[in-house]
């Protein structure tokens, strides 16, 4: 009988529950309640490769863990970049972590934006509020290999001009000629010369070939729903649209069920889903 290979001893297997210590190397205030943290390994560690759209579980020691999307450049895996908005105790503790603070990292987890499927096509990114950070790695990747993609259109909506994250970088993107980056806010005073209104209002003006376009959406679920409607009215189909969903993730490895959405575990099967695969669950109340 052929010898069956045995699993490595338990002590050799990395525990899925054990966070790896990272040190906050840089903390940048994005808005009044949102910061971007650059994390570097606290111990000698290999690089931390990830795919655009994936997330990590960040551990504020003594407080708890939260799922936070990776917002950095996949081509620079030596450090981890996360953008965190204060929404509760854990995110508040993470957002308050200054340089030198040790945080725990488990990950990366989840599915990614299907960039390979987008090659040769026009690409539309629609972000609402803190939906831009999970999309930024995809934009970095596309811009680094710009020739592989058709037109790139980004629509980014926020509550007010003061709530726009990555403000300086957004201005740089808006100045580029190889993508069109539109920003819009829900309300503004006269000092704002940009657009005011919902991201959906910008969809009819997209300069893309609807039959040969892929859309990546991230933001509040109601925004996703109405944006998909607008994209369909533009001539796209729901299976051309991918969304990043947010649920209450705890284990992040598809065991605990906290993030279950119908038959899907958002942490394991998502957070990036093809919209046509999950749309029926998004209308189920209490799900």
């Amino acid at each position: 009988m052929a010898a069956r290979s045995l699993p490595p001893a338990a002590e050799e297997m990395p525990s899925p529950w054990a966070p790896v210590p990272f040190r906050v190397a840089q903390r940048t205030a994005e808005t009044s309640d949102t910061v971007t943290l650059v994390l570097t390994p606290a111990r000698d560690a290999p690089e931390f490769p990830f795919a655009p759209g994936q997330f990590n579980m960040l551990y504020a020691f003594g407080v708890g863990e939260a799922a936070i999307s990776i917002s950095g450049d996949p081509a620079a895996p030596g450090s981890l970049v996360h953008t965190v908005r204060t929404a509760g105790k854990v995110s508040g503790a993470l957002a308050a972590a200054g340089p030198g603070t040790i945080v725990g990292v488990r990950g990366p987890y989840g599915s990614a934006w299907p960039l390979a499927a987008a090659e040769g096509k026009d690409v539309v990114l629609v972000a609402g509020g803190l939906g831009l950070p999970p999309l930024r790695p995809a934009l970095y990747t596309m811009l680094a290999d710009r020739g592989k993609f058709g037109r790139i259109e980004v629509i980014y909506g926020a509550r007010t001009p003061k709530d726009l994250v990555f403000y300086r970088q957004v201005q740089e993107w808006r100045a580029r000629t190889d993508l069109r980056f539109q920003t819009t806010v829900d309300a503004a005073d006269r000092s704002w010369y940009g657009d005011v209104g919902l991201v959906t209002a910008r969809v009819p003006d997209l300069r893309v070939d609807p039959a040969n376009t892929v859309a990546f959406l991230c933001g509040p679920e109601v925004m996703l729903k109405f944006t998909v409607q607008a994209l369909v009215a533009k001539g796209m189909t729901e299976d051309q649209v991918y969304v990043s969903l947010e649920r209450n993730m705890k284990c992040a490895i598809g065991l605990c069920g906290h993030c279950q959405l119908g038959p899907e575990f958002v942490c394991r099967d998502g957070p990036v889903f093809r919209y046509s695969d999950v749309r029926r669950y998004l209308t189920v109340r209490e799900l």
Partner: protein, 155 residues
């Protein structure tokens, strides 16, 4: 603002509002249209004034503003090329309920309310078709307003 009718420069039939409209509707209204151009900062309409026209925006950007006493004006929406401004001329009392200000150089075609209503009254089929074009605009603005009220991006 420059009221500079330059016939032929802009055509009603080419505006998104009339795309898919019954044949001839835009052409029948074309003689009423006045082309206008607004520089940055020009006011198109002012709250409280008589709503005397229907404005079709071809290019540029227009901010719809609500003036608040003792507070800075609030921009609640911006409109651009392909959008239309104003149904107040159809709703009594016909007065503007907000300010509209050009925040980019803006070109429009404008249909004066009186002659437009007369034309639509005289040809009810055209009137019905026109309202079928206008109602989705109103409904979309209402939907957007509801979503803005939900403060989706808030805490």
């Amino acid at each position: 603002m420059t009221a500079a009718p330059t016939p032929g420069a802009l055509r009603l039939a080419e505006h998104r509002f009339f795309v898919g409209a019954p044949s001839g509707l835009a052409d029948r209204l074309e003689p009423l249209a006045v082309e206008r151009s607004y520089a940055f900062g020009d006011t198109l309409v002012r709250e409280g004034d008589i709503a005397d026209r229907f404005v079709l925006i071809y290019e540029g950007k227009v901010a719809l503003e609500i003036v608040l006493p003792d507070r800075p004006s609030v921009t609640i929406q911006t409109l651009g090329g392909g959008d239309v401004l104003g149904w107040s001329w159809l709703v009594p009392p016909p007065e503007w309920w907000l300010d509209a200000r050009a925040v980019k150089r803006t070109r429009t075609l404008e249909l004066p309310a009186g002659p437009l209503r007369a034309a639509l009254d005289a040809h009810p089929d055209d009137g019905y078709a026109f309202l079928l074009r206008l109602l989705p605009v109103v409904a979309q603005r209402l939907d957007h307003t509801r979503l803005q009220l939900m403060d989706l991006h808030g805490r």
